[in-house]
């Protein structure tokens, strides 16, 4: 009777470890915001050391998809402002408002210009010139995307922590 019990314990432990691994990994992945990217910009296309420290690491960022590239979404822009035409009131100002997102393969998702998406991938910071897509400051490679339900996009001056109630 003891052997099956031990086996059951071992299987439970293994399942806990295997099941818990992605969670632990997910907790380590930093979440960047457009506010952080905008604040990291310095003169002559330079960025702060702090934002550079995320380069080469897997990060997460939330924003609106601007399908600026091919329709298979192997490349697109992630923007703080939706590409919903003239229904909104903000004019994006340029480099700090967008991240270039490259997916290893085309992404399969239900595209909606008004939905906020969560993008995960390897972060790159600093000026780079691409023959196809031009100059960029921030890029995400090997990107995966999923809808971020109830997400908030932070502007410059807004923090990532929820505001304290008076």
């Amino acid at each position: 009777m003891r052997r099956p019990l031990r086996l059951a314990w071992s299987v439970t432990l293994l399942l806990t470890l295997v099941g818990g691994a992605p969670l632990a990994h997910g907790q380590e992945r930093p979440r960047l915001t457009f506010a952080q990217l905008a604040e990291s910009m310095r003169a002559n296309f330079d960025v702060t050391q702090q934002i550079k420290s995320y380069a080469g690491r897997e990060i997460e960022i939330q924003g609106f998809i601007v399908p600026a590239g091919p329709p298979d979404l192997s490349f697109f822009l992630l923007s703080r402002v939706s590409a919903m035409g003239n229904y909104c009131c903000e004019v994006p100002t340029g480099q700090d408002e967008t991240v270039y997102v490259f997916a290893a393969k085309g992404l399969k998702l239900l595209y909606d210009p008004l939905r906020v998406y969560k993008i995960r991938g390897v972060f790159e910071a600093g000026k780079q010139v691409d023959t196809t897509y031009g100059v960029s400051m921030f890029r995400i490679r090997d990107a995966r995307a999923e809808e971020a339900v109830g997400a908030k996009i932070f502007k410059v001056g807004e923090g990532t922590a929820p505001a304290a109630k008076p």
Binding site: V66, A83, G85, P92, Y100, T132, V135, S136
Partner: protein, 396 residues
Amino acid sequence: MTELGVALRYLRGRLVASVLTAVSVALGVSLVVASVLLTRGIKEAFLEGTTDYNLVVGAKGSAAQLVLNVVFRLDSALPNILLPTYEGLEEDRRVEVAVPVAMGDAYKGFRYVATTPAYFAAFPWRRKRFTVAPGRLFRDDPAARPSYEAVLGAEAARRTGLRVGDRFYEGEEMAAYPLTVVGILRSTRSADDRAIFLSLPSYWGMNEIARTMAIKPLTAVLVRPKRMSDLPALHRQLNVSEETQAVFPSAILLTIFNVLDLAEDVLALILTFVAIVVVLYLFVSMYGATWERKREIATMRALGARRATILRIVLLECGAITIVGGGAGLVGGHAVAYIGAQFLAARAGVVADPFALGLLQPAVLAGVVIVGTLAGLLPAVMAYRMEVAENLAPLS
């Protein structure tokens, strides 16, 4: 005689029933193959035929209509915008290339697309390559001296029969402005194959209203920015303007794909029901056949055939029907897809490849043979468990 030989002889023995069963399998497989090939083909045709430009700028109205008309030559054109919109974009420091397009009349159903030679230019970022063979591109003529030269897309040339040097017009009012064919484009597998290209001055010269206008009209401007990060600002700026709208062509295609995906899901549900009906028909057919030949099976058993041999023979019958039906279904599916593709090309200008080979064909055939053989499992088990003494008893 081998087990396969016995199985085939049994099938021949009830030829009509066997053929009908194989035909039902073939029809089911044809439906699955044709549906998958056509839905996939439509999607790929849109992907392949899309523009390399990132923004389409046109008059206020339906964004989908603008892209479908300007990029895919479907739907009718939106109202005109004016030439200064193009001139403004051409001078914008954020814009690398701006290409004006004016669309209106057609010759034998092939639409006139007035543009500049920049439309055909090769850029490092451009997937599509235009080659004129035979002939040359139309001249980039000044507004005051239109040359009335035309370059035909490959399909337009083939279907109209026009050759380099031919002059053509459609309608009596156009007799004073015949176009001369100066070149024919190689196929680009896009809507450009079905277009007749000419210069903007020629187009304005042919058009009675445009001739009298001081500021000339356009249908749209195709825009490529120097850097993609400028796109949202350009897009927003052109949309808040009173006259224009700017559209990301990929956004429209993604919206179309969303609808196609929904249709694909519904189709998959219908096809699942079709597959269930076909499998049930196969099962009923094999069950009936096994029931009818109880005495034959009992005789075989009495003559020394083992239970496993009987099981294998019934499964082989099922397998043979599904292989024949599945094979015929694959051929039939491609034939139906071919007819569907011709219809789509003629009616909607969408060129789907009905003969695309890939994993689909072996996967469908293997799936049909496995599921079909499994459908015969119960009749086979029934034959396996048949008692010799009971079934060899006298009938009266």
